[in-house]
Assembly symmetry: D2
Homo-oligomer: 326 residues x 4
């Protein structure tokens, strides 16, 4: 099976204070504000010719509103609708411009409990790629991936692979060789390491959204810029490299705790004989190829996610403990 899903294309964060959020995302991180109204700010990155890759929405409680994948055609949305109906998943249509700049979109609660949207049509916006004298802050180029904490990694990994047609670039196992089970998985539609990372944890919770920057030096410059803008304490985890994905990263958090990874160092994954790279959870270079351990907040804290029908926060559950064999 599989669907014509292009890539992770945007995320919408519920934030409690739009002005504070604007200062962080626009003034400090350098996102470009495409438009705004009293309840929303629509942001795009330097490379975007699209209306937005991040939406900030005024809410009483911070949470992930939804993440969204772009599909290859309008018809693909109807195929997805039929599939989700058959799967009996919570689903609703988001009408054109209900999310500004976007055509009709399908929003579901995925089997892991995440609010996930699929859309085809998006308004264009001016592409700033070569307006180098207007690039500021973290000089973010584009959205890259979502990192999601899920309670049943084996099932949700299988669902995205077998039903939606994602491919696996890397994965992590726990347990002895005879009794291995899946602990984390990096899945992609675009030929990079991932559009979607799944990690076995209390969930559903969003760990972070990863945004692409050009190179490691730009990430260091971003730290200087953030610190000078008053956001030193919003740099949660120092720059470093992950073993998995070979990412060079820094992690930052907004006023509400939404976490962003500034990310670079990817590789090409679409060769037809690609064999997913396997890591053991105990491998010390898996998560931290070098450098210090992440702080407790990075390990423990993540964002709650919204129910797409009720707007309530989805209840967080413990991960299922049954041992699965990949």
């Amino acid at each position: 099976m599989g669907f014509d899903i292009i890539r992770l294309a945007h995320a919408e964060f519920n934030v409690t204070d739009l002005e504070r959020a604007r200062d962080f995302y626009v003034n400090a991180l350098g996102f470009i504000e495409t438009e705004a109204d009293s309840n929303h700010i629509y942001l795009r990155a330097i490379e975007d010719g699209n209306h937005h890759c991040l939406v900030l929405t005024k809410a009483d409680t911070p949470s992930l509103n939804h993440i969204a994948y772009r599909v290859g055609s309008e018809e693909e949305l109807y195929k997805l609708e039929a599939f989700f109906q058959a799967q009996n998943l919570p689903m609703r249509w988001v009408e054109k411009d209900e999310e500004r700049g976007q055509g009709r979109a399908l929003r579901i609660q995925d089997p892991a409990g995440f609010p996930v949207e699929f859309f085809f049509e998006m308004e264009k916006a001016e592409r700033m790629l070569q307006k180098f004298n207007q690039h500021t802050g973290a000089k973010i180029k584009r959205i890259d991936h979502a990192n999601c904490l899920v309670t049943d990694i084996y099932c949700i990994h299988k669902w995205y692979m077998e039903e939606l047609g994602f491919k696996c670039s890397e994965y992590t196992v726990v347990g002895s060789a005879e009794n291995e089970r899946l602990w984390a998985s990096w899945l992609h539609r675009k030929p990079s390491v991932h559009d979607l990372a799944l990690v076995n944890e209390r969930g559903p919770r969003l760990h972070h959204i990863g945004f692409w920057v050009d190179d490691a030096k730009t990430i260091l410059d971003a730290c200087d810029y953030l610190a000078a803008s008053g956001y030193a304490l919003h740099i949660e985890r120092s720059p470093g490299r992950h073993g998995t994905s070979n990412a060079f990263f820094v992690y930052v958090r907004d006023w509400d705790g939404h976490r962003l990874e500034l990310y670079t160092g990817d590789y090409f994954t679409n060769d037809p004989d690609w064999e997913p790279i396997k890591w053991h959870l105990e491998d010390p270079q898996r998560a931290t190829f070098w450098g210090t351990e992440p702080p407790q907040t990075w390990k423990k804290e993540a964002m709650l996610v919204q129910n797409i029908l009720t707007g309530e926060l989805v209840e967080v559950k413990e991960p299922v403990s049954k041992k699965v064999t990949k």
Copy 2:
């Protein structure tokens, strides 16, 4: 129409002195030698899990032996065979291991006269991505694209787009608004700016093969490394940025004149509503976004290409001058 072509996957250069070539490609540029025999050196880049992305073959005369695209399945080769037969193009099967490490492959002379191969199967080789202490020279990550000089840009552009299913990311036109014609085009299968660039010139000649490196600093380090290795004069064109493709580049040439672009600075091109970026040939920032003009050699010199059936060099012709409207 269209075929399941994944990406440009390797090139084979005919070189006149294997040892001199090895010194340049392995010792100075840092390619990894997978294997060699008395007539060939098989090289891969840091990110490659594949047997080779560049083959050096002993020959009396330097030329492009062929470029090769990887396809998604063995069957795709037979579909391509049928299509090329119908098109009456020169074609032959390259048997398994005729090119070491590679499965059965189909080689044609494309309508522009270029020797082009399609293959599915390739032996694996150790991936060096995180063996950072073994990365040397230019620290090349992977092959990226071929830049081909063709005499009938309009036809060949159309053929790769409409018959083979390439997409266009950017293009250049000449002439007045009422009488514009295509001058160059950047075509891709993987969602980057290009796998194949076509430029209106005397042809068929290969201008360069582009190889991906991580970032601009790595390109500067490569220049220092090359110069200290005795190859200062092999750096043909100083580092700079192209307007088209937003590439940060340096151009180097081997002992036989084969030209490589060390390249970084790409962007994502697979959004379904991508509109190719249009440049005018007269735009001063098109080819040289900043910095000095390329030297005459860069403008005038390029490699002859080999006939896939006879091994002879393909005769170079003047570009057709008829004005075409895109």
Copy 3:
């Protein structure tokens, strides 16, 4: 002999259009404007706690107004005065605040014909070093050196070394081993490669003022920033490395032709047994360690300099041709 000269501390350029100059130096290069009046703009760099390191002065004809060295004390100025009087050099006192922010200063025409100032006192200005979110353009840190074309290299080199107490870090010779003569010399007071470079040429003319930036990546970012600001054609010579001084550089020119080197890659030169590094003019890696040759303008064009007493331009003469032995 020798005097307590600290370092090259500023330059003053005569420019024909202050507003155009401001756009180039402030908006594009990112110099910080300390203050301005109808005839002057006083600029400082990111690291400066000083009022200025570059002054732009309205004039009918572009030229070098003067370069200035800072000395270690007020008394040193009077020692210099006595010495210059004994040497019978054209000299005048520049009274406090005649050049805004500066204490009483001594200005001479040096034996090569250059307008050179010595000062001790300078007003403080806010240091922007860690206000990273206000760094723009080329992110210039400080002034580094002046590159001066002189007609009698041997004499002027000797004068700066023996009379003023400069030290030589590197030099270039021409001619055969038996009949070598000095062609260029890099002289310093601060323990870097140079405060003053002297080159045998038609003179007196100022080739460029070198400004320090943090690293090579910053120089590339500067090029992108300049190009996006409309100054692509003001980038005269592409980024590259010099053999002499090991500098990584780019050369840019303002509207009037004043040339700046953005410069990084220096080393420490104050060890007491430092032996000046000797280069032969014919060594291909001397001026261009790698990369393309400089354009003709870079080789031929330089700025005229002003007479400190009359304000007239100093007449340019041919270099003396007698062969000297170092």
Copy 4:
């Protein structure tokens, strides 16, 4: 008062296993081995024309053997001898080649208890600055500074300033405005931020020796290189920026716990009106301008130092607690 001290020029570490140390310093960090015997390895950095900037000496217990300053002339050593005698400090002459490559040197126990050497003459060694293809590991350019933990910061700061002629670039205070006392100080002879940092702590202990690298990207590359060489866990503190000194840093430790800072981001400090930059210990951006807190080991652990006469380890004492006013 003051002496003609040029700069911190080398350190000697006592290590328990020379081969393990060689693997770390030469193979992983990329120091160049000038020469070795059964008990010593003499290392130099890329920029060095000197015999060594780091000596590894076989010993039963790891400790700092000594740090050494270069002076401007042989005579200066005799002036220092007279001064130290008058001060009644433990002192001895180290004869020529007792430390290989070095002329006669004077070694003292400074008032803080540190083993400090002064020397003038040093053998030359080949300078590798432009042999870029032989630069490996951390690509260390030169030694920069020593960071020393002292029990009586006020007195030792005053001694280095007033007696030896060091200058202060930055300092840290604790306490309220009315009752401030000195907590740390950055002192220099060369016109950078420091040759010597003094910090109020249990002492005498050496916190680290700082080595200069070209830029922040080189520090990140060093981390990748170290990790791939098996030294991931030797990277003690992730890359980041200090507020004080504006350094971009990473901290690494050898097998015996000797700590090195790879360091870049300095500025010029020799202007005659330099006013030391004052920091409060409570300023969160003082030590960690951005990024995560250092690990406990970085805060707590440091190397014992050797008695220059007995070879015994100097006893560690608590810092004096009396409040001093700067």
